[in-house]
Symmetry: C3
Subunit: 345 residues, 3 copies
């Protein structure tokens, strides 16, 4: 099915954002990730724990039970599980067979986010978490702010498509971002480095005025090279950079809209976001305005993608896909993703 085969819709040996860090607390909560229901909590020491959410006994969700220290007590018949998922006690019974366990998932806090590894736990290497410092999250002299978690009733792959073809800004975001016809009118340039697949649009000789002057008031009236790009770091992370300018002095100023994408089910998605920048680092009010702006932009994308989703569900497999030159980046990403999925197991 367009755009990704649906019998294996996502890679599993991959870190995904499970939650904004402070969503996980001493109160258990459940979230479905890659179609697996997972219960999250923190130990008394503050470490995140992720267990398969359903009691292996009679499938009652563990979140309705209690935490006794770091131990989960099921709310139906009182089985106890430690934070590795091992069953440590069954009422009125001496021995607990080892197979009475629930699965546990590797989880790691990194920056303001908690990451989860859904595939083979042996392969769960935290160094494989995407290089978020490079895009300003937790980096020196950058300002970064975590946004929110938006439920998206559409498959993650069309969100990736959306982010890899920013020509849609000229049409879908006209109400929030204004008339930006020049974006769609500019052919994109593709490139790769070892970390990301990049789609770039350059606008040489741009006058700093209008929206650009709002971002960079100190250089209003000068002429810069401006650009807009999308970097794909995996299905879990797409970084949209823009506005970004190279000033007359050659300084590269970048505003990043960062998108963390976690499939919830084959057709729904947890969509987390953040912003970062390497200028006006102390300007809290600017951060607040940009987070609000991002929320409006995301709401527009959610509307578009949720309109499309049922049609992909229904017509995707029978339709011949028509693509234009501006889709080249999205298509390169999709091929990469498809081969990552094919390479698993």
């Amino acid at each position: 099915m367009y755009p990704i085969e649906q019998h294996k819709p996502y890679p599993k040996n991959q870190w995904y954002v499970a939650a904004i860090r402070n969503e996980i607390s001493r109160e258990m909560f459940e979230r479905r990730i890659l179609d697996e229901p997972i219960v999250f909590y923190r130990t008394e020491a503050g470490d995140p724990v992720a267990l398969a959410a359903l009691c292996p006994h009679r499938l009652y969700p563990l979140r309705f039970g209690k935490l006794l220290g770091d131990t989960v007590v099921c709310g139906y018949h009182g089985y106890k599980f430690d934070c590795s998922g091992r069953c440590t006690a069954i009422p009125a019974q001496e021995a607990v067979p080892a197979r009475f366990a629930t699965k546990s998932y590797p989880v790691v806090d990194r920056w303001e986010l908690t990451w989860i590894w859904m595939g083979d736990p042996e392969l769960a290497d935290p160094t494989k978490i995407p290089p978020i410092e490079r895009i300003g999250l937790g980096a020196e002299q950058w300002r970064a702010d975590v946004g929110c978690n938006t439920p998206l009733k559409a498959r993650y792959s069309i969100l990736v498509d959306n982010l890899m073809d920013l020509s849609h800004i000229s049409y879908s975001h006209e109400k929030t971002l204004g008339n930006n016809d020049f974006i769609a009118a500019t052919p994109p340039i593709m490139s790769n480095d070892d970390q990301s697949i990049r789609v770039l649009r350059k606008f040489p000789n741009t006058k700093v005025e209008g929206p650009l002057a709002f971002f960079f008031p100190d250089i209003a009236g000068t002429t810069v090279e401006s650009y807009l790009s999308s970097d794909y770091y995996g299905p879990c992370l797409v970084d949209a950079v823009g506005p970004a300018v190279i000033t007359e002095e050659g300084v590269d100023r970048q505003f990043h809209f960062i998108h963390f994408i976690t499939p919830e089910t084959p057709t729904t998605t947890h969509y987390f976001n953040a912003i970062s920048r390497n200028f006006r680092a102390d300007d809290d009010e600017f951060s607040a305005m940009m987070l609000a702006q991002m929320a409006r932009v995301i709401a527009e994308d959610v509307t578009v993608l949720e309109e499309i989703e049922p049609h992909i569900e229904r017509y995707g497999s029978t339709k011949t896909e028509l693509s234009c030159q501006a889709d080249a980046g999205a298509i390169r990403v999709r091929r990469t993703l498809a081969s990552q999925i094919a390479g698993e197991k």
Copy 2:
């Protein structure tokens, strides 16, 4: 499945009412017909246009885009389509391959209605639109009023059944139309002409009193031949005539409840209606009362059919159909319809 095989539930080479004429304007709107999503608008010259509703690029519904003159601009990436469905422009791209087109459907305004041809466009001959003048729509010396568009959550074929067996008036419409036991008690007579299949009930020597006197106050107290009939002109149109009387002077006065039936999906229907008559042509108040009456009667039929629909969905294919003599007209219609469907492609 009872009552019509579900893998090809409706004929396509057939005009259907797509909309009440003034529903289609310079504001695009979408409607599903024969399970195909279609976007409608009028050109600046006022002609109706019907295009496949989803952008062939990434399936975004075209109705969320804009009209620039007669051209549709998709709201996601800005592709442009003319009113024949041809793609005329893609941003940042010189050439537009011919296959970047969306389907267009033949549409024709006729009387207060806009008709659509869902099958082979080569066969879309407007002279095949049912002879609505013959039943008073747009005819000299008749009065005709368009009603409304009622969404029906039931398959169109059981609505046709309903209209071809008017014995149900005695039971389903007792609250609105009063006690009419004589209808169900009168055996129907079937006949065909080249245009329609007719089921007729005659009531000779009827005194014009009660409801009849309300329709025909000028002949109250006389004795007439009264009758009630259903004419099937195709799945798109059933004309129920009644009350109708042949006066002592031999004048045939007819009141028509006209039903335009357009399958939305295999199990839901767009149900349009109109009324016409060849008496009291200038009586606006009478028209208003009869439209209100028709709305109440239709609401009752909708209730009955929506109660039945899930049971047909579930039990229709396993059930042996039991039919009585009063079903003969409905069954003749169903055979005609089944052979029309079988004859396509």
Copy 3:
């Protein structure tokens, strides 16, 4: 599928509670039982009638028609059916073929309940109704009160499971019944008699204090043998006894929470209940309090089971069931039930 194969999920040659007796009146109502839609009413003489709910003509639900004496008149085309389901009249038609009948089901009033036989009517022997007198319903010197009908969006078999393993009282009902850790901590004893499968927990040397003293204030402070049991009389009836005590004088005082379980569909259930006791027979206020208490307890079980149901639907067939010693009663019951189902036809 765990816990019972879903292609034949319930026995049919079995009495089930169809309704609380006074739910069935001269006003027709419809209820789905074992996935068959059934319309209920009483004859003028007061006898319960159960007919297949859909008119055999065009599947209109009979409940929308009228009762003329003991005869049902369909609300669509006026066919008449007597209380054996025979079609006795079709409008405008002399003869009525015998096959124009709707199915009728054996129904019997017993105590405050109306029972229905869903299987082969030849086998519908009222003496096979479970021995409800033995558990105090309609018995001398007992007090019995009928409770209510709770819709349960979960399959009946997990409700049977729930009732055969009362260790869950210690966990699921902590809020309403207080801390009862001693229940889960006590291993159950299984036994059978010719009528029921029993799971029993004994608590010797129990001081009558706290909740027990509330039940038995006249023996507060004494020491008794207390017990708690579940008796399975078939999928239609599980009797939970407790608190129950054998006093110092050897008197056996029992409080019964009685559960009537009627599958509505393969995954939903009609859950009726009653209470009975052989002490404080005239204490109306105590009855009222206990019915209220039962309603709260049932609401908790409903919550648990409705949380579990979608997971059984989804994971039941692929999961290896893990069971502990406390499940032995539930598993014995399940085997009995499975062999009862397998033995049918």
